[in-house]
Subunit: 104 residues, 2 copies
Amino acid sequence: MTTQFDNVTVLKQGNVYFDGKCVSHTVVFADGSKKTLGVILPSSLTFSTGVAEIMDVTSGSCRVRQKDQQAWTTYSSGESFEVPANSSFDIETLETLNYVCNYA
Amino acid sequence: MTTQFDNVTVLKQGNVYFDGKCVSHTVVFADGSKKTLGVILPSSLTFSTGVAEIMDVTSGSCRVRQKDQQAWTTYSSGESFEVPANSSFDIETLETLNYVCNYA
């Protein structure tokens, strides 16, 4: 797992969700694709998706429950989970989580 | 005032201060110099400096009081303030602030 993105553009305006429980910055790659690089503070949140997403946990850990599912799955640093398009997921973080969100 | 940094490296690990009241990401430039790109949530905080810093407000506004000073100065988007090395500053944000921190 790399610790940085090279040769990218980063947007100065941050993305702030849930009163700051989640803060991210948008990274744009040479091919025009985007990822967000973010932090989720200890909290229980529900995110909705437009396009499908792959969330890479880069530090910390979290529990995730996909829409209409009962089971929770724990993910730690170096692990990823996919969320379908037009869906949502519940996420619980006990410690500060760093993530990269990849968009389909 | 540009809205992005191009051809940079961005570190995946975020910087979290004051229980998440301030979150930033580190941007590394081709010449090896670094800036941080951050968000400060509505709060009253005190930051210390090692090297001198220039804080560029990119959105939102804040009041700033330099170390050992009585006066507060308000800064808004597009404005900057300097903080000497080995000093500190009090900062009050009434709305979410986006900033770029430039290091001497």
